[in-house]
Amino acid sequence: MSNGKSSSTIGRRSLLKLGAAAGATALAAPFYARNAFATGGSVRVLGVTTVALPDWQGFAADTGMEIEFTPINSDPGFYVQEVVANEVGDDYDVFIFDGGIEDRLGESGHFQAIDGGSLSRWAEVSEEVKTSPLLLGTGGEQYGAPIVFNADSFGYYTDEVGDGAEELSWGTIFENEKLMGKVAIADTWLTALPSAALYLIGKGAKIADPSNMTPQEAAMVVDFLIEQKNVGQFRALWHSYEESVDLLSNQEVLAIECWEPVIKQLQGEGKRVRYANTSEGYSKWMIGAYLPSQAEGERLERAYTAIDWFLGGRYGAEIAVSRGYATANANAALKFAVEQGWSDDQRGAIEDNITKVERKMAAAHYWQNSSPDHVEAIESEWSRFKQA
């Protein structure tokens, strides 16, 4: 009896083991299938959602590595908190953050400088893009590699504002009797304040750097914005992509400071809207890849391989088509699209980007700065505008 009992126990245990093994195999099978190309391990990326692709199969196919992409929101405070307080550099090989943050995190030793020589495609990136202040530290060190960038302005209905043949002033948004109460701006000091500053500079105001204003300059811009708010210039402030689409689409507003994909989407729906070419300049932004100081040895190699891939044709082509954003190496993107036999429309999106970069990125002002020197004062001024 005891034998039988023990054997039955063993039997049950073996069964459990067998079951567990079978389960593990079942789970592992698709994993191995998925990793058919991925022989070189994986690279862990903490990055803003803006740069994410719907799927990363191309990454594995090209580099032989898996990418573990952790998406985060674009909040400078969040970067500082994660990198400094939570030391996530231990866990991630590459950070992809809004440019500007390297002034702080590079200087504090949390980022290591990028060695262009370790990137096969570095030479193909134009000097103008590489030397954006959003990638360089305060002493000119190259902390960031450009991933995606764009020059933002505002969208408008052509019937109400103009056909877009000539450049429009930011005054369309900030000071315009014809559009009074028919305008929306983004609810963030990051773009609304410097863009208003651009307009004021155009009118003769003295502001040294719209994206790194002194508290006095920020106060001056906010005084102007409050004046405009009180006469009813702004219908609303938007907080999300969907909201901005909605506001323009319903004609709740006729012009709106917004992101370019908003206009792409509405044009796709047949609305007569355009994204403005401005006379004063653009809100240029750049998202960069940064290397945590903790990455070294094999980890660092993998990080460089990953960054190199982002500078390549496939990523540039895919992000240009899905979002309309520019990348550092647009010619490689076009070449990739041609080789892959992509449609005329898709190739057109990439070609548009090349023209756009030439036209807009060369404008003098300004590079969005997610962490200006006087960020507390600037945020406080923005709060004063919102309360007014």
């Binding site: 400078p76 500082v80 402030l237 309360q387």
Partner: protein, 289 residues
């Protein structure tokens, strides 16, 4: 087996006190300490300063606090006006258990849908080109679409009524249900009008439920950014939004100062309410006895 509170093992008091210090007092004390420091370049400056409190006032955040309380108070009063008869009817007006169950069930339905999804519908309705303005124009009530229907305090108040209706109804319903029918019958038999019965019998007996309803409705609304963000369109800034904006740049000290001020206001508010309630019920129970 029953022991009066005074006979409870003093160790119990000690545990309770320790727990309260740990989860209640220490965080609040921490908040108070943070509020008298300042931030520079995302870093904390360890020097006592009232800068954070000055910032609260110079950046308009004090007005934001006052507005938040005003909006929450207006909505709480409006909601209670609607909830009172509804809850009373549910508790005493209908005898059908099925009706009660269905109504209570229906009141919980909104909790299964995201608040943003429910709120966003108002934007379509109240917009310049929405059906409400369309109807008003058609009827000739207005000659131009009303712009204050949306992105205004009116829109925020309107949008907050429905989400906070159930939180007021539930405690009121409980309180009314607990009132013995015989007490109401007695009041009627003694010749009291329905209004007299409600004011002098139902209200005093339901005070704990009314208090709970106010707390469950008013307090969460103060911390809720969803409706004001979606329907205020940046024109009706409330506290939660203001604090989020601070935390995005790690400005903990101003956020802490704002929280300390809010805490003081709330303590003042709740003590006043408690004192009034005590006076109100105290007076009536004397009158009844």
């Amino acid at each position: 087996m029953f022991r009066s509170p005074t006979q409870v093992n003093p160790k119990g008091h000690l545990i309770l006190l320790t727990a309260w210090v740990l989860v209640g007092l220490i965080p609040i004390a921490g908040l108070a300490v943070w509020s008298v420091l300042s931030m520079e370049n995302f870093r904390l400056v360890w020097e006592p300063s009232l800068q954070a409190y000055r910032d609260v006032f110079s950046s308009g955040r004090w007005e934001v606090t006052v507005r938040t309380i005003r909006v929450a108070a207006i909505v709480t009063v409006l909601v209670s006006i609607f909830a009172f008869p509804f809850a009373y009817w549910m508790a005493k007006g209908t005898r059908s258990m099925a009706t009660k169950t269905i109504l209570l069930g229906l009141l919980t339905v909104p909790f299964f849908l995201s608040l943003s999804a429910r709120t966003i519908i108002w934007r379509g309705l109240l917009g310049l080109n929405g059906p409400v303005n369309g109807l008003l124009l058609q009827l000739g009530v207005v000659s131009e679409p009303l712009d204050w229907l949306l992105f205004s305090e009116f829109a925020v108040v309107l949008g907050l009524i429905a989400p906070y209706f159930p939180t007021m109804v539930f405690p009121l319903y409980m309180a009314f249900s607990l009132i013995d029918d015989e007490v109401l019958d007695a009041s009627r038999d003694l010749g009291a009008s329905p209004l007299f019965t409600i004011v002098h019998v139902v209200l005093p007996l339901a005070i704990p439920g009314i208090g709970a309803g106010f707390v469950f409705t008013f307090i969460p609304m103060i911390g809720d950014p969803v409706v004001p963000t979606l329907l205020g369109g940046g024109n009706v800034v409330v506290l939660a939004e203001s604090v989020q904006s601070l935390l995005r740049i790690l400005n903990y000290t101003v956020a802490a100062a704002l929280s300390v001020l809010m805490l003081i206001l709330l303590i003042g508010f709740i003590s006043t309410a408690a004192w009034l309630t005590k006076r109100f019920t105290g007076g009536h129970s004397n009158a009844i006895s």
